[in-house]
Structures are given as C-alpha cells and as structure tokens.
Symmetry: C2
C-alpha cells in the first residue's frame, strides 16, 4: 500500500506543479506582451498570481528559462487561436484569409493583454543574441513560412495574381505588426489600412 | 566689471550644462534603441558617460523628462540623417527614393546602436498611455505623412502607378520596420526583401 500512497502523493505534487506552471505562464505571456520579456521576474509573477515566489522559482529556476517557457506558452496559445482553426480550410487563398481573420481577432480582442506577443518581444530582443532571441526569430520564421505556403498554393492555382510567396509573406507579416502597434495606441485607421493592404498584395 | 564676470560664469555654466546634456542624450538614444526607454536611468547614464549622476539628475529632473528629451534628440538626429539630405531632391519619386536610401543607411550602419529608434520604443510603449507614447506616435505620424506627401506628388505626375499615398506610406513604414528588426538579428534576406517590396509597391 505504501507504493500506491507514495504514487498518489507524487501525482498530486506533479498536478499542482503543472497547474502552477500554467497559471504563472498565462500571466507571464500577458505581462511580456505589455512590458516585454525583460520585465518578467519571479517576484512580480508571485505578486500578480498570488502564488509563492519560492514555488515559482523552483519551477523555472532561471529568468532565461522563465522567458523561454513564456515564449513557448505564447506560441501554443497563438497556434490554438490563429493557426489550428484555419487548418480546416483548403490550402491556398481560403486558408490564408482564415489566418488573416484569426490574426486580426488575436490582435484586436486581444488574446494577450498587450497585443501581438512577437511584435512586442522581438523589437525588445532583436539586438540581444542568445536563446531568447533565437526562439523568437524561429517563431517568426515559422509564421512567415506558414503564410508563404498558402500564398504559394494560391499562386499555383491562380487564386491570386502572380506573386513571390516569400516576398508577400514578408510584406503581410510587416503590415500585421504595424497594425498591431497602431491598434494598441488607438489609431482608428489601423484595421482598414491593414485589410486594404492585404487586398492590394493579392489582387 | 562684476556684471561681466558674473555673465561669464553663467555662460560657462550654461555651456557646460548644454555639453553634458548633449553627451547624455546621445548615449540615451543609443541605449533606448538597444534596450528601450524603460531601461534609461540616471545611474546607468552616469556610469556610461563618466558624468556625475547628480549632475545628470539636475539637468533632467524626472525619468519621464529624460525619456522625452531622448525622443527629441533621436528625432533631431533622424531628421539630420534621413530627412534633410533628401530635401535637395525634387518632391515626388526622387525624394521618396532618397528617403528610402537614407533610411536604409540609418538602419544598416546603424545611426543608433540598436537600429531604428522608433521600432524599438514604439513596440515598448504602444500599450502605455502618456506623454512618452504620444511623442513616439506623433513622430511616427509625421514620418508616414512625409512619405505620403512624396507618394502623392509621384502619383499626380505619373512617376509611379496609380496608388493611395496614405496606404502605400503605411505599407512602406511597415516593411522598413520589419527589415530593421531582421537586420538586427542578421537575416541576410532583410534588405533584398525590403528593396523588392518598395519596387512592387510603386510599379
């Protein structure tokens, strides 16, 4: 019976650790979107979540590990909100347009308190070499590649004007980021300009 | 003679204050381009410039005043490097292209240690209402308006394809900002994609 009781305690501990991790990271993603990854601290997250600083520190150990876990959490939430729901659409223009609609919801609602996580954090870390920048740059590259794949398909089937998929993916990502910033400071022309830009890029 | 001597002392003090201000702000602009305006502190600037913290604090008084003075200094340097040299070109496509060439030099050289000052700081402050954000947004609006004016002229004279100047100014600013970030993390495709984007926007 001792084994079973021991396992039960371990299971409960693991479950509590996983739950704490989830609560801390959800707050960390919001904070980083508002104030950057540099502003994350165990103390601030403890204050904001009501959990113990020691407990949070035990889970993540270093600030860099916390930053990397926050990027990973943001990435999962972004995939669930923007990418996965578009997968039911046929590859090409329809899926590209679903990605755009989902992205605009993600920035406008917004999913994270400070808007687009990568617009905020890549500007912060683009001059700071290291694992944090590498993770952010990899996420950005994956997103632009995802856009380019659907633009490639849309070009091959003639759904859009002849275009360079990688180039238009770069332009698309650029106007999304700019519109995200403009949404934050309340520029009412941000979304109309974004939508019209997407149209002019494709038609 | 007392008056003359007194004036001389005052003049020297003013001169020393102006010189200190200039040295501190030049460092502040570089620091903010790298680490954001939030990271500016009197202590850090004293360490970096070798000037006394008390002296710097006397000049600027509050962190917000220091941040606003830093934005103003960045703006003056940007105007001198990017805008003013283009004024000798005729309004329209030629001036627009000079602005683009100057801007690419500004981001690539770079003029500020962390690249484009506004890409770094607007992403940092876009969710934080107040005078700092207002100053950054005003600078951004003035830049986009400058671009739109030359695009308007270029459209009116048929130097470029028919286009919406405000819309293409928005797109241009967006790809400049994206390319700035990509330059920071060493993406070799950043400048070619930027230059090709500018061509596709106009022709």
């Amino acid at each position: 019976m001792q084994d079973a009781a021991g396992s039960e305690i371990t299971d409960k501990r693991l479950l509590r650790g996983a739950k704490t991790r989830q609560v801390v990271l959800r707050r960390a993603v919001d904070l980083a979107s508002l104030e950057g990854l540099g502003g994350l601290s165990f103390g601030r997250l403890a204050t904001d979540t009501g959990l113990s600083k020691a407990g949070i520190q035990t889970l993540f150990r270093t600030k860099e590990a916390l930053q990397l876990a926050t990027i990973d959490a943001a990435r999962r939430l972004f995939v669930d909100a923007v990418i996965r729901p578009a997968q039911s659409k046929p590859a090409g223009l329809q899926r590209f347009q679903a990605l755009m609609d989902n992205w605009i919801d993600y920035a406008e609602t917004p999913l994270f308190a400070g808007g687009c996580f990568w617009t905020a954090t890549l500007a912060e870390f683009d001059s700071i070499p290291g694992p944090v920048r590498d993770a952010l740059v990899a996420d950005k590259a994956e997103w632009v590649t995802t856009l380019a794949a659907d633009l490639q398909q849309a070009t091959a089937t003639g759904e859009v004007k002849p275009l360079d998929p990688a180039l238009v993916a770069f332009q698309t990502d650029a106007v999304l980021s700019s519109a995200n910033s403009a949404l934050r400071y309340g520029d009412p022309t941000a979304l109309p300009k974004l939508r019209r830009s997407l149209t002019t890029f494709l038609t």
